[in-house]
């Protein structure tokens, strides 16, 4: 149960970041998992002990957890800035293609550059925050779920404040009409870049939280499915509505875990695993058909 809360929390973080990028700023970003992977690997490389003889990686800085955590957000944000330099000017689907390609490249890089990432072996046995205060793994799970809820609340607070600030208002204006925003004297590339970078920072932090949850990092965790799931959570919950994002993440994680728990025979398990995607797809289609703005749509503010 605690695990489900954690996963929900992590997908909510991704949906929150995506909402800033897409919901507020209108950037179609299919590179979520790329920044997620950068965040996760940044944390691990910053905090990992020096490599042992069987390890292929060269850098393990063994820094305190806190620095690793801050680093995961900052490094992810920095990479977003680098990607944004050429890509942020791209319109609509072109940005989607560029960011998707970026995420794919990141996954290949992390698989193949063994000196940095230890290849497919990855990193295992990653320490968890405040673990030493808990006797059993079970009681720690509940604490960690609580920690995740706290972090989601934090991100929620920061992002909803940003969205209601003049910064958020200008982003929305750019989303609505770029030409008019330019005529209003707005440097639209700069605003988009901010949205892109802040989103990446939050996705990077989510990477750290994910690493603590799985306690291992391998490249195969960071497939494009993560991006799609974040998008589906945002879309079915309601783009622009914070409660909707949590609801969306809950539904998606609920479907994933329900099919996992139902496993009976090996044969049935395969079918159920595949049916997960069918169920998600079906829900997405139904929502788009009957509630195109999501279960809880965005509300317009009134002055």
């Amino acid at each position: 149960m605690a695990g489900i809360v954690v996963l929900m929390g992590i997908y909510t973080m991704l949906a929150l970041a995506l909402n800033l990028r897409f919901g507020t700023a209108g950037l179609i970003d299919l590179g979520v998992v790329g920044f997620f992977a950068i965040g996760a690997y940044s944390y691990v490389i910053l905090t990992a002990p020096a490599p042992g003889t069987a390890d292929a990686y060269m850098f393990g800085f063994h820094l305190p957890m806190f620095i690793g955590f801050v680093g995961s957000g900052l490094i992810s944000a920095f990479f977003a800035f680098l990607v944004g330099l050429p890509a942020i000017r791209l319109k609509g689907e072109y940005l989607a293609i560029a960011t998707y390609a970026f995420a794919e490249v990141i996954q290949y890089l992390f698989t193949n550059e063994k000196w940095l990432t230890n290849g497919v072996k990855g990193f295992i046995g990653i320490e968890q925050p405040f673990r030493k205060f808990f006797v059993s793994a079970n009681s720690y799970q509940y604490f960690y779920a609580f920690l995740i809820v706290l972090a989601v609340a934090c991100f929620w607070y920061i992002l909803s404040r940003l969205e209601r600030s003049p910064f958020g208002r200008t982003l929305k204006a750019i989303r609505e009409n770029e030409d008019a925003a330019r005529a209003a004297g707005k440097d639209i590339e700069r605003f988009k870049m901010w949205a892109f970078v802040i989103g990446a920072a939050i996705i990077g932090f989510a990477g750290s939280f994910y690493v603590w949850f799985t306690s291992l990092v391998v490249p195969s965790l960071f497939v494009s499915e993560v991006t799609w799931v974040a998008w589906i959570a945002l879309t079915i919950g309601g783009t622009g509505n914070y409660k909707g994002m949590i609801l969306g993440a809950a539904i998606i994680v609920g479907i994933q875990e329900a099919t996992r728990f139902l496993q009976a025979s090996a044969e049935l398990a395969t079918i159920l695993a595949a049916s997960r995607f069918i169920a998600m797809g079906l829900i997405l289609v139904l929502i788009i058909r009957f509630k195109p703005k999501g279960i809880l749509p965005e509300r317009n503010t009134v002055n």
Binding site: E176, R182, A183
Partner: protein, 252 residues
């Protein structure tokens, strides 16, 4: 001269849309730029506003060379434009549309919204007051909470002008402001524009509608096939045989 256009040309591929056009706009004047469809008015207009870089020539705004600047830099310097079909932030309210515009909002820096809430709030209050006053001046107070997407074409046009005035511009560029709005609202618009001039604004109006423009402008330039072919007061323009020929067709 608050705005000077010097030998500006604009070429799209093989098409010469504007060819060595030069004209000036005097402070606090209402200057017209007219010409039949396809004369290059909108292209020239977009060059001035920074939407297209001119292929050749220079544009000066307040003695500063602005050709080559981006549209937002030009807007921030006080040269505000409107669009031929009114453009707005559709899924935002009229009030929000106006409040987006002002320059130098501290809250536009993402971290300021988080750490400097008080200052941001104060500034928001000022901006809100200013927007409210503009809407009241234009008789749009009741629509302040309407979405732009739900306004009539005429209302959208006036809101667009009000929105651009939030820039505190010195020159307002209007691209066919009378297009697509009914005669009653056109009269309202003329009153609005004359009042703006009284308040010290300079207006440059692009139109192909001679009637509308001659009732407003002090001075008119006529553009034909990308070149300025005549200039003068409205009376002089009406008597100019070249203009008559261009507009009514030559004597066969």
């Amino acid at each position: 001269m608050v705005l000077e256009v010097k030998n500006v040309s604009k070429v799209f591929g093989g098409l010469r849309a504007v060819h060595e056009a030069s004209f000036q706009v005097k402070e606090n004047s209402i200057t017209g730029l007219i010409g039949p469809n396809g004369a290059g008015k909108s292209t020239l207009f977009n060059c001035i506003a920074g939407y297209y870089p001119p292929s050749a020539g220079e544009i000066f705004f307040k003695q500063e060379k602005t050709s080559g600047f981006t549209a937002d830099e030009i807007a921030k310097r006080g040269l505000a434009r409107t669009f031929q079909t009114p453009q707005g932030f559709a899924q935002m309210t009229v009030m929000e549309n106006l409040m987006v515009v002002p320059k130098g909002q501290v809250g536009e820096k993402p971290w300021q919204g988080l750490i400097n809430g008080k200052k941001v709030k104060e500034q928001e209050e000022e901006i809100r007051k200013k927007a409210f006053k503009l809407l009241a001046d234009f008789g749009l107070s009741e629509q302040k909470n309407d979405l732009i997407a739900n306004l009539s074409a005429g209302e959208a046009r006036i809101v667009e002008i009000a929105r651009q005035l939030m820039l505190d511009p010195e020159v307002l560029l209007l691209d066919e402001p009378a297009a697509g709005i009914n005669p009653a609202l056109q009269n309202h618009l003329i009153q609005v524009l004359l009042k703006l001039r009284q308040q010290g604004l300079t207006l440059l109006i692009v139109d192909h509608n001679l009637g509308f423009i001659s009732s407003l402008c002090d001075y008119i330039y006529v553009l034909h096939l990308g070149q300025i072919i005549a200039e003068g007061t409205p009376q002089e323009i009406f008597r100019n045989p070249r203009v008559v020929e261009v507009y009514l067709g030559g004597i066969a």
